[in-house]
Symmetry: C2
Subunit: 352 residues, 2 copies
DNA sequence: GTGAAAGCGCTAACAC
DNA sequence: GTGTTAGCGCTTTCAC
């Protein structure tokens, strides 16, 4: 319970604190082996552990980065957290995880906290269109990597983005449905407030247009930006929206969901309506979370290469924290579609 | 980019640093309104933000707790993280999240790191039978709440446990299967190394015994403690084990899975084998993660009251950190079974 | 090779 | 009411 300091170690080893500090910091070459041994013994005997807080105050350095996600309750973000942590750990960095619950104010205050804690680099999964709420931090020197958010015109120049091309992904998904013969395709999302969601919606419309369909006639649910749905509620939202849509007069034969959790909810909603996924209504998701493959039926979805993205995000961040920063290059990956069993030709085309 | 300190604020407001500090710490009553206003203006104009690191070094306090989980990749732990964070935030505490990947050494080193960072309370989701690897920390004064781990005989007295009664839960699950008429019931788990897993297995056997069945004849997979399967791989494990079991000569008609992720994998394995969940093989999970209800078929599972458990864990921790600690009371909650659609009578009993 | 000394930015007695 | 002072535990020149 007693806190043992560097001084006590020094006294026990009959050296000065600075010598102990030298040892602690690997400056062992200029030190007699005997001295070194004495110090090491003292450290062990006293059970000494340097205070990171004190060191940090002195050096201003912390080997840690922040990660702000909408919610680790969503397996996609949970998986990202794992991968980022793995990447960080190989370089001796730690990851502090924060849930913003997609609340801009909470996001900002977390960033502020992280800064006050001495953290100078964070991976932000915000996807809010504007990053105005964080520019003050950026000006103070915070290094930010935006994840899953396309670079925007007005973005601060110091910002690095790591994301999949969401428009392309959604387009791929929609084209797949189109090729199967679907014509009445719905799009289910929560609020379209975030950039990546807007992008996905854009890709959806683009595919429809290319197929000669009127994107404005497409079924979009909910019509306007709805209440803020968190990420955990994505499934609830999908379920409710699917139920609603399937009750309408112009039932869709296929549904593009904004992400996998939403897609799983959609599938549930389809079953609630007494229908069967794939046979009656096709569903495509986005993200390719682990559960997608496990689901019944296994979900056709757009794959995001999470491990690579996490590693890239970390590398960028570290480079810029450690100063070896060449001006940040953003990374825009091309996603691909994983066709599984939640999609099939519409009933009308069966057997053709 | 320039760091503004309390001194500069003091100078700008023509007061001393201590007065600024007083304001910062709410000791505003003994201060002329005019002074207070001057300081506040200065703070705003300079964009001053106190350094938490310095404050921490001085006071030895951090309003933060640690959370060590096997892996946030598992939605159950992700959900716990969210709930714990919610509970902590209401009291102004932050949560630092660490993934141990069920590696004792990693667990220990994380605890060590947290301690070095000034954190004095952590929620540990270890479930390793022995907590020997953390007793040194406990002796140094770390307050630990073990989560999802039954109190053990040799536990340090200062340890508080918050958990569901795993044996009862598994017994409930098994009895449900028994009542439906199942007799060949399998148990699928990863390594049985952790306490809660042992407990669940015990409950499973107890139910069998009470029904007059020979628990030793039960199908347990994998037979012995297997390779360490992480929490994300639980689903993989379930899938592989189910495949294996269903290929055998004594096929089970029902399966108790160690947790929901495993159960989802089991369901997938059942379908891989060309069978149907519930109709051909019943499956019961454990945890009641969000996905359980979304799955097809919705999973019958043992419910853990996560929000309450998280709140209790936090309250215990805070009480003991802040010293108002009456000797820690452990909390053992009674879980209940949620019957959904992954369980049904065995085919032989159908229609009786 | 090793030690003395000066802080990092903040807080909390204790003076005034 | 407000300022002075003395550190919290560590690192790091710069002497010796």
């Amino acid at each position: 319970m007693t806190k043992v300091t560097i001084h006590e170690v020094a006294r026990a080893a009959s050296v000065s604190p600075s010598t102990v500090s030298n040892l602690l910091n690997g400056r062992t070459q200029r030190m007699q082996p005997a001295t070194q041994a004495r110090i090491e013994t003292a450290i062990r005997k006293l059970g000494y552990h340097p205070s990171r807080v004190a060191r940090q105050l002195r050096t201003g350095q912390v080997r840690a980065i922040g990660l702000v996600v909408p919610s680790v309750g969503n397996p996609f973000w949970g998986a990202l957290a794992r991968h980022l942590e793995a990447a960080a750990l190989t370089e001796g960095y730690h990851v502090l995880l924060c849930n913003s619950e997609r609340d801009p104010e909470r996001e900002r205050s977390y960033l502020e906290e992280l800064w006050a804690d001495g953290i100078r680099g964070v991976v932000l999964c915000s996807s809010l269109p504007s990053l105005d709420h964080v520019t003050p931090l950026l000006e103070r020197g915070l290094r930010l990597v935006a994840f899953d958010r396309m670079a925007q015109a007005g973005d601060p120049p110091s910002l690095v983005n790591v994301t999949v091309d969401n428009a392309v992904g959604a387009q791929l998904a929609t084209e797949h449905l189109l090729q199967l013969g679907h014509r009445r395709i719905a799009f289910i999302s929560g609020s379209l407030g975030s950039i990546n969601r807007k992008e996905r919606f854009r890709g959806f419309r683009a595919a429809l247009e290319q197929a000669g369909l009127d994107p404005d006639a497409a079924l979009v649910s909910p019509d306007a930006a709805t209440t803020q749905f968190g990420d955990v509620e994505a499934a609830e939202l999908g379920r409710a929206a699917a139920t609603e849509l399937l009750r309408g007069r112009r039932k869709p034969t296929a549904i593009v969901a904004i992400n996998d959790m939403c897609a799983l909810g959609v599938c549930r909603g389809i079953r609630d309506a007494g229908l069967e996924v794939a046979r009656d209504v096709s569903v495509v998701g986005f993200d390719d979370i682990l559960l997608a493959e496990l689901y019944a039926p296994p979900l056709t979805t757009v794959h995001q290469p999470l491990p690579e993205m996490a590693a890239a995000a970390f590398d960028h961040l570290r480079a810029r924290i450690e100063g070896s920063a060449t001006a940040g290059q953003s990374l825009l990956l091309r996603p691909h579609l994983v066709v599984r069993e939640s999609t099939a030709p519409p009933r009308s085309k069966r057997g053709t």
